[in-house]
Symmetry: C2
Subunit: 230 residues, 2 copies
Amino acid sequence: MTAASIRARVRAEMTEEIKATARRHLAADGANLSLRAVARELGMVSSAIYRYFASRDELLTALIVDAYNALGEAAERAEAAVDRADLLGRWLTACRAVRGWALEHPHEYALIYGSPVPGYAAPADTVPPASRVPVLITGILHDGFQAGRLAADQGEPVPEPLRPDLAALSEEVGVEVPPTLLARGMTAWLQLFGAVSFEVFGQLNNVIGERESFFEYQMRSAARVVGLEG
Amino acid sequence: MTAASIRARVRAEMTEEIKATARRHLAADGANLSLRAVARELGMVSSAIYRYFASRDELLTALIVDAYNALGEAAERAEAAVDRADLLGRWLTACRAVRGWALEHPHEYALIYGSPVPGYAAPADTVPPASRVPVLITGILHDGFQAGRLAADQGEPVPEPLRPDLAALSEEVGVEVPPTLLARGMTAWLQLFGAVSFEVFGQLNNVIGERESFFEYQMRSAARVVGLEG
DNA sequence: ACAAAGTCAAGAGCAGTGCTCTCAAAACGT
DNA sequence: ACGTTTTGAGAGCACTGCTCTTGACTTTGT
């Protein structure tokens, strides 16, 4: 049994090493990285990789799950260090963590928030890692609402047809937030990933030089829409 | 000279035909479409394509420019049909046109607003087509400001370091808009493309069913931040 | 202790890719 | 009509993802 564990452990290490190498190659070739190149760098032959990943897509899926988790954890850790009562601080800190991680790992960010890979369909096990950031944001909304510091109704009225979607969403996450507040939360969510994506994908090149100020302004503006006071 | 025109015209038609075929292949293979497959479908050999495009990247550039122009034109045409005094209507109409085009041409949209193609660097001639939508939005801001219906200062205060960027931007576009208003315009811009990207790239799957209501709500909310009254 | 079962890396091979080069046949300007 | 330019075809290079087979090694059941 201990012997089997050894083999299992070696296998796990090898798997991790392949992923690490692939992650490095991601920077050069994006989503269409070369399995053969990864194998070559690891001093093995391409067919050997298929012992660990059934296909290139499966390798990609592993990288995607890892990326979602890394991003989620970065946001969670940063946000957890902020005083629970400081709602605006929690929001801004989470935003900065997302942006920071994205700028540090632009190619992994592109993998999860960029254009979908052509033939690739994300399997179900990417969903929980993917929802870590949304869940985090929803938690801030929840706390603010419970404390009576976030109004349910405010700003643009929420269209009737949209409310069931929002109610189902709040239920799915397991956090109770009124649909009207959740709708504003999604505005902030769009604003966050819109800003990060534009910066990472180069849409801000030759447009905005002061990236930090710009991001800070946009996230504070989003917070204002939600109703988070400074 | 007329003879030369014939050859030139045939060449132009051939170029257009290659692009059209490539556009079709874009749907299946995304940014890494196959030159050979395109050639095969056109009944020619792969090397013949190099008479029209020096490389795959150059073909991609042509597709990118076309996509930016198509999107820009769709937005401009729709917006132009709205009463000039109806600022909110102009904004919402432009937004709907952008979303509509993106949903009709998801793969072309991914090409211009998705993750940047790995080895590819966008040449300078993509800039003017790319700025058609931003210019359009800026025009609405300008008209509203001139008419005294859009306040310069409102909402979140704009950080000092950001102002030169915004001033330069307004100058570059050739449309006079106060930096504070332009900052809110960029909020709306982020909101627009954040919403469209999330929908086209599948981030809203199993999250929002009522896409139209959701989009409408988000764009009205963005308009409110800018200061566009209904 | 030893054979059976399982696991692994390697190599050959298939069909495909972007791209370059050469060569013959058109189309063109004069 | 003649020399130039443009065009398509074909062969070829180095590369890709992936499959299948082979031989060596390790783990397991008895």
